[in-house]
C-alpha cells in the first residue's frame, strides 16, 4: 500500500509492477536510464515537470496523483464526497482509490455531484410544493376536476338505470371536465417545467432574493452616496410590480442602514471581535441595523461570512441570506427550534445561542436573535419583526440546540416541535 504524500517513487513503482512493465522498459519509454528510474522509484531523486508528465502518461495515471504538492483534485473531491456522505475515509485510501480505479473514482465524484444537485432541487421543490400559492391553487383545481370526473363516471358506470336526460347531462359534464383537466394539467406542466438545475424565481420574494444574491447583498454605490433606486431597479431582472416594490423596500432599508452605520465608522471594530450588543451601543444604532450591516457587507470587510433571516410574527420569512450549512426554507414553516422563535416571545432582548444544523453539510453556528417592536400607530399594539444573525461556530459547543431547515426535509427523529412527517427516512 502506498503511504506518505511525498512517496511519488513508491507510487510509480507500484503502478509499474501492477501493469507488469519492466523497469528498463519504462525507463526506455520516458527516455531515462534504468538506474535513474530506480533512484526515482526509491524516492532518492525528486522529479517534476516533463519527466513527471511522461511517467504519468506511460503508466496511464492522473499526473495530479503523482505530484508532490499534496492531494490531487480528484483525491480532494473523493475526500469531500466521503465527508459529505459521512463515510470514514483516510486521505491515503482516497488516493489509492483514485490511483487504482480512476474510472470508478470519476464515477463516484460524478455521482456525488448529482446527489447534491438533486438534494438541492428536492429542498427547493419541497418548499415550492408546500408554500407556492400558484402551485397550490393549480393542484387544487386539478384535484377538484378529477373528483368531479370520478364521481360522475362512477354514476354512469354503476350499472343502474339512469334517466336518459341525466345520462346526457353527466356525459356532457365529463366531457367538459376532461377538457378542463387537460388544460389544468398542461398549465401545471408548464409551470413545473423549470430549468433543469435551477428552480425559477416564481414569487416576488424569490425575484427579490435572486436580485440580492446576484449583488452579493451588497450595493457599493449606496455606501457613499444616495443613488436613484429606480435606476438600480431598471437595471435589474425584476419585472413584477410586487417584486419591484419589495426590492425598493429592501434598497431603502439598505440605504438607511449604510447612512446610519457607514463602513468608515465600523472599520475600527472590524473584523468583528466583540459582542453584538456592545457594538450596537458603541455606534448608537439599533441591533437589527447592525445585524443587516454585518450580513450585507462583504466578507473581506467584516472578517467572516454572516447569514441572516428576518421574519414577522406569523413566521413568514421577510429576508433571507443563506450561508453554507445553514439551509433555510424559501417561505414560512421554518424549524421551530431556531432561536429566532424564542426571540419573538421575548421582544427587545438579544439572545445568543449555539445551534447545530442537522441538514446535509450542516454545521455548528453561533446565533444572535432579536425581536424589534415597531410602533406604526399610536394606540395599537406594536408590530413584531425578529431577526437572527449567524455565522459558523468554530469552538467546542457544550450545549447546542439541534435544528433543521423545515420539518419536511428534516430527519431529527424525536423532535417535539415536529409539525409533519419528514420525507427523509432516517436521521442524517
Amino acid at each position: 500500500m502506498i503511504s506518505g504524500v511525498d512517496q511519488i517513487g513508491a507510487r510509480i513503482r507500484e503502478k509499474r509492477i501492477q501493469l507488469r512493465i519492466r523497469q528498463s522498459k519504462l525507463a526506455q519509454i520516458v527516455g531515462i536510464s534504468p538506474s535513474y528510474l530506480n533512484l526515482i522509484e526509491h524516492d532518492r531523486r525528486r522529479i517534476g515537470g516533463k519527466l513527471l508528465t511522461d511517467l504519468a502518461d506511460a503508466l496511464s495515471l492522473d499526473v495530479d496523483l503523482l505530484s508532490e504538492d499534496g492531494k490531487s483534485s480528484k483525491v480532494a473531491r473523493l475526500e469531500e464526497a466521503a465527508h459529505y456522505h459521512k463515510v470514514e475515509m483516510q486521505t491515503e485510501s482516497a488516493r489509492e482509490l483514485a490511483t487504482r480505479f480512476p474510472a470508478w473514482s470519476s464515477f463516484l465524484i460524478d455521482l456525488d455531484r448529482n446527489v447534491r444537485r438533486l438534494e438541492a432541487k428536492i429542498d427547493a421543490l419541497s418548499d415550492r410544493l408546500s408554500h407556492d400559492p400558484q402551485l397550490a391553487t393549480s393542484l387544487h383545481e386539478v384535484i377538484t376536476t378529477v373528483t368531479a370526473i370520478r364521481a360522475t363516471s362512477s354514476i354512469l358506470s354503476g350499472g343502474d338505470d339512469i334517466d336518459p336526460m341525466w345520462q346526457m347531462r353527466f356525459q356532457r359534464n365529463i366531457s367538459e371536465d376532461s377538457l378542463r383537466l387537460a388544460e389544468e394539467a398542461q398549465a401545471l406542466v408548464d409551470y413545473l417545467d423549470a430549468d433543469e438545475t435551477e428552480v425559477r424565481t416564481g414569487t416576488p420574494y424569490e425575484e427579490v432574493e435572486a436580485f440580492l444574491r446576484e449583488n452579493d447583498y451588497h450595493f457599493e454605490m449606496m455606501e457613499k452616496e444616495t443613488p436613484d433606486i429606480d435606476d438600480i431597479l431598471n437595471n435589474s431582472a425584476i419585472r413584477s410590480t410586487a417584486g419591484r416594490l419589495l426590492a425598493r423596500n429592501a434598497l431603502e432599508t439598505y440605504q438607511a442602514d449604510a447612512t446610519a452605520l457607514p463602513v468608515s465608522s465600523l472599520s475600527g471594530d472590524l473584523p468583528i471581535q466583540v459582542g453584538l450588543l456592545q457594538l450596537a451601543q458603541k455606534h448608537s444604532c439599533s441591533i437589527p441595523q447592525l445585524m443587516r450591516r454585518l450580513a450585507c457587507l462583504p466578507t473581506n470587510i467584516v472578517g467572516r461570512e454572516f447569514g441572516m433571516v428576518s421574519m414577522d410574527v406569523t413566521g413568514s420569512i421577510l429576508f433571507r441570506k443563506q450561508i453554507d450549512g445553514f439551509h433555510m426554507p424559501r417561505f414560512g414553516s421554518a424549524c421551530a427550534n431556531w432561536p429566532i422563535f424564542q426571540a419573538l416571545q421575548m421582544p427587545m432582548r438579544l439572545l445568543e445561542d449555539v445551534v447545530i444544523h442537522t441538514g446535509r453539510e450542516g454545521g455548528t453556528f453561533h446565533t444572535y436573535s432579536y425581536c424589534e417592536a415597531i410602533q406604526d400607530n399610536i394606540g395599537r399594539p406594536p408590530r413584531l419583526v425578529a431577526h437572527m444573525l449567524f455565522y459558523p461556530h468554530t469552538q467546542e459547543a457544550a450545549q447546542a440546540t439541534r435544528v433543521g431547515a423545515t420539518c419536511r426535509v428534516c430527519a431529527i427523529a424525536a423532535c417535539p416541535s415536529r409539525r409533519e412527517p419528514s420525507i427523509l427516512g432516517e436521521e442524517l
Partner: protein
C-alpha cells in the same frame, strides 16, 4: 320523512354528481355554492347533515365550521368536510374545530355514501 343533506360546494359538476347519488339513496338534498352566507343557510334550513367543502368563495369551510360550533343550535349538527388539501394540518384543524368526519378529494361515491350513512344513522 327523508333526512336533509345540505351540500355546500362551489364546483357545479361535483354538486350535480353528489346531489344525484344522495337523492337516489333517499335523502333530500339542498345545495349552496358560496361561503359568505353559508351559516345563515344552515340556520334557516336546519339540515340533518352538512357536507362542507373547505375552499369556498367568500368564506372558508374552516371559518364556517368555527362559527357553526360557536352557535349552540349547531354544536352537535353533523358536518362532513371535503377538501382537496389532504395535509395533516388541515385534518388537525378540522378536528380541533369539531368536524364530524373529514374526507380528502378525490373520493369515491361509495366512500361518500358510507360517510353520510354513518353520520345520519
Amino acid at each position: 320523512m327523508a333526512k336533509t343533506v345540505l351540500l355546500i360546494e362551489d364546483e357545479v359538476n361535483i354538486i350535480e354528481a353528489l346531489s344525484f347519488i344522495l337523492s337516489r339513496n333517499g335523502w333530500d338534498v339542498v345545495t349552496h355554492s358560496n361561503g359568505h352566507d353559508a351559516n345563515e343557510v344552515i340556520t334557516r334550513r336546519e339540515p340533518d347533515l352538512v357536507v362542507l367543502d373547505v375552499m369556498l368563495p367568500g368564506k372558508s369551510g374552516f371559518d364556517i365550521l368555527r362559527d357553526l360550533r360557536r352557535d349552540p343550535r349547531h354544536q352537535n349538527r353533523p358536518v362532513l368536510m371535503l377538501t382537496a388539501r389532504g395535509q395533516s394540518k388541515d385534518r388537525d384543524m378540522a378536528e380541533q374545530l369539531g368536524v364530524s368526519k373529514f374526507m380528502t378529494k378525490p373520493f369515491s361515491n361509495t366512500e361518500v355514501l358510507d360517510a353520510v350513512n354513518e353520520l345520519l344513522s
